[in-house]
Symmetry: C2
Subunit: 277 residues, 2 copies
Amino acid sequence: MVRVEMLAVGKELLIGRTMNSNAHWVGRRLARLGSMINEVTTVDDDLDEIGRALKEALRRGPDFVVVVGGLGPTHDDMTLSGISRALGTGLRRNEKALELIREHYDKRGMGTVELTPARLKMARLPAGSVPLKNDAGTAPGVRLAAGGTTIFCLPGVPAEMRSIFRASVEPEVRSMLGRLHRSYVRMKLVGVLESALAPALAKELRRHPGAYIKSHPRGVREGVSRLELDVALVGTDTGRTEAEGEAVADELALAVEQLGGRVESVRGLKGGERRWK
Amino acid sequence: MVRVEMLAVGKELLIGRTMNSNAHWVGRRLARLGSMINEVTTVDDDLDEIGRALKEALRRGPDFVVVVGGLGPTHDDMTLSGISRALGTGLRRNEKALELIREHYDKRGMGTVELTPARLKMARLPAGSVPLKNDAGTAPGVRLAAGGTTIFCLPGVPAEMRSIFRASVEPEVRSMLGRLHRSYVRMKLVGVLESALAPALAKELRRHPGAYIKSHPRGVREGVSRLELDVALVGTDTGRTEAEGEAVADELALAVEQLGGRVESVRGLKGGERRWK
């Protein structure tokens, strides 16, 4: 297993201004590779909080920490400064980063943009960092190593985060993971309470300890309880993983019927929605 | 200041299945009171991870930890067990919680629902806990104290989380905070780069160190840069807080114009959208 943590930086995430869609997107992306985010920490734009949270994350010994947010030109963009403090590296002007920033302004026909302190700030990286090209914005991403952990810093603007994640983060995670297949089935259930289904879920999990089996209550409409039920499996063999996933889903559908409920629909990750036979 | 942390539990949040809208909602709710969430930690449905994350949160000495998710009847609902382990309290059947669960089934005309182990599980709380009525679902919330910190455990289903938060969490936070007023202005800016505006933002922040001033890049459309700019202030005096917020916004609008940009619209928390004069 590969351990991946995310450290999301930004007060906007803590005051309900912005939904942490970056954690959602990265989690989804990693889940498709057969992995996941193991922990997300969200902290304020504050040097001490950023430094402390990074140190705590590193103590948990992850393979990767993806730090998101706080790379821009404004006063509250202090992620690199917080990281540099936590690691004791100091910040240095990185010529490659400066070149990327210049290129960005050139490409947008803004070659005459003056490299003010606010702009130069985006090129001041923790010593030992490698800047990562940002195809969707100005501030480069940053890659650096700390002990056995690789730290990636990405901008918080979703388009920029995604672009650098795809190009620079995902390939490294994938190569550490190896090739995995994930089967995924989602069922919509009606007329069965989660508490009634609980023993059947536990029983299937005992039979298939590697499976991810999880029910999500979707409220009660017209006196009828509604649930969503997810079944996921990760394995190296595509056929076997798909077959095991199908088998778990079939067993659970049977249990639902025995409890007087009904499977309204089933959806696999690959196929579209289909009615249950 | 009151320090509030959230510990969100659930693999669905880490694999991009579910957006952490609970953190967003709670953050927004607290921001209206003049507070915020200081840190959000999201972990897997795993006893060790839950216990460790709670211990780490308590070490940071918050006034409140709001734990969300993992209170239900299924195998993966293990929040209370994780907390009990971390605090060394043990789990005990709580008669008040059992009564709340029974009442819930009664009210839904399901008085004959058998109290199976899965259902009884929702009444097994860390010793010393107080159950909190859940008006929107089955599993009661839980309140317990650990040192100087009050821990609230709420179900992950948003309607249930919100209902218990409003009824049982918010009044306690509010009484610790006292009565605060928050002024909030959001401006949409066109034609000015974030990096160009950065010095003006920093200058305003030096003048008003208690202000929250933050720009959010909203991309470039037809060669024109777009930003959103938030200004928030918290204070005990309504009139003064509003006036200071307005003054900061006015100064920043002037700076935007001096940089060749334009304020497209301004929105206050109370009023609707209005064009900038």
